[in-house]
């Protein structure tokens, strides 16, 4: 039942972001309630010096989860690569969630920059988790560059819209049956996460939907349950949709009537 990425076995299929919570305490409680094993941490805003932000990082370390540093908000290859290097030093991990933003309004990935930055970082020994679109050609390039996991968007970051293009996500799953696929960004509800898991996705990465809920701790748990439900459902070979009703109890010859 576990998921393996870059040789690491994960029992939880939820990866949780650490931004935007009302307080660090609520963030830690949400992490605990979700039982996630991986959290993403944004480096850009907390990192103007080595010393600053230390309190926040020790806090994250205290959660006893694996850290997936991200390059959130980076708009160029150079910026993303520099941020990734800083993250590796700080968190002592080869993992990086690579984000290269190409369009400011939709925060859409710059897929050209993404592929280029991925090549550079993999060459440097990183294990890259690329935040990408559902484009199959880009996905293929990222795999050729050495990625062992892909993270297509569900919808634009922070939009809470759910799976914008189920068709594209379905065909991505069909195209890459053996690659761990994680839906990253755009989800708002546990049903969105369950939806992605029912399509056969391996895990879900999210932040805003939990952090900006009125009760982030309860929502973290709700997402964990939705993800588990969707995953189990996918493995249980769901029944197909039918046009005609098929009664679960035979009615032919029912002897008693009102």
């Amino acid at each position: 039942m576990s998921l393996t990425v870059y040789g690491t076995e994960l029992n939880s299929r939820l990866l949780l972001g650490t931004s935007l919570y009302p307080s660090p305490k609520i963030m830690l409680d949400a992490i605990a309630a979700s039982q996630c094993e991986v959290v993403t941490v944004s480096l850009r805003r907390e990192s103007s010096t080595e010393k600053s932000g230390n309190a926040f990082w020790s806090l994250i370390r205290s959660a006893n989860v694996r850290v997936l540093p991200n390059t959130a908000g980076c708009h160029s290859v150079k910026e993303a690569v520099t941020t990734a290097h800083m993250a590796r030093e700080l968190f002592d991990t080869p993992w990086v969630k690579l984000e290269v933003i190409g369009e400011d309004d939709t925060l859409q990935p710059d897929v050209f920059g993404l592929v280029e930055a991925t090549r550079i970082l993999i060459e440097d020994g990183f294990e890259v988790f690329p935040y990408t679109t559902d484009d199959l050609v880009v996905a293929d390039r990222l795999l050729s560059a050495g990625c062992e996991v892909l993270m297509p968007w569900g919808a634009p970051i922070g939009s809470g819209r759910g799976l914008n293009n189920r068709y594209a996500l379905t065909s991505m799953r069909a195209h890459f049956p053996d690659v761990p696929l994680i839906v990253d960004a755009g989800l708002g509800l546990p049903s969105h996460a369950a939806d992605a898991m029912e399509l056969g996705y391996d895990a879900i990465l999210l932040n805003t939907a939990v952090a900006k809920a009125g009760d982030p701790v309860a929502m973290a748990r709700a997402f964990a349950m939705g993800i588990e439900a969707g995953h189990l459902a996918h493995q249980s070979q769901p029944m197909p949709k039918r046009d005609m009703a098929a009664p679960s109890t035979p009615v032919f010859g029912t002897p008693f009537r009102d």
Binding site: I26, R45, E46, K51, G53
Partner: protein, 339 residues
Amino acid sequence: MNSVRIDIIGAGVAGLCTAKHFIDRGCHVSLYAQSMGIDESCCSWWAGGMLAPWCESESAEPLITRLGQEGLTFWSTHSPELRANGSLVVAQTRDRIELEQFAKRTTHHESVSATDIDRMEPDLAGRFTHGLYFDQESHLDPREALQSLLSSLQDSTLFDLHQGQHLDAHQRQPTPKAQWLIDCRGLAASDELTDLRGVKGEMLILESKDVTLNRPVRLLHPRYPIYIVPRKSHQFMVGATMIESDDKRYASARSVMELLSSAYALHPAFAEAALVEVGTDVRPAFMDNLPRIRRRGRTVYVNGLYRHGFLCAPALASRCVALTLDGIVDNEVVDENTD
């Protein structure tokens, strides 16, 4: 009369409010400050000065709203400069969902239409179609409020002030005559309160004769929510960022751009405003962003006021007095009480 003697260290909003509450109970207060007066060395200098317990409840715990209402009452009697014009919350049409969310998570507001907004804030006429009005909220100029509180303390024969003090370790013991030492040093107290952390904030002061606002205006935005608080002499405080960092050396270009661009979105005339100040400081906060009182022997810490210094300091001060003079423990804010 042989009155109780209190030493207080720190002359920010927490220290001054605490001094005021002890003096009102007839105690003799000695206030020790590192600065030579009310100045930019204290975090309170950079505050917005919004007394907005209900707006804050959008993201803060209910405790803040309760403490904040006491703060509102305190300042309305102790700050001659307080303006009780309520506060206005607006969003651009495409961000209307933010306004709906804000309305759902707060109380004590009414929905206002374009016509209402035009009447309340004529300079915003035609710019916003929907808003929320919190009629019981107020605002003040933090620098003036600190100054007048200090002046009123200095009028009392029970008060003496020691400025330019190095608040080093031996001074962090009550002097032999004092019954209590109240530590209100803000983030500097993290040497003893190890779970205290800094949350960086950046703010601007703009000056423009082309815009007049009668009350604080919050502009909601999915990425860059800001508030603008009108001050005297055509000045406006624009705030404030919240960054997990204790580095207060610089405001970042990015933060200043975000604040300016939001101010411009509120009113294009801000593009022509003079940028009078760019301020940076670090707020003291505990893990849950809630304020605390801790007693360790004869030392009492009042800290963790986060972004709610003016809002919550009066309520914390009264609980600090109740703890030390009356032995009344409010478990909502006192999380340590040891001999």
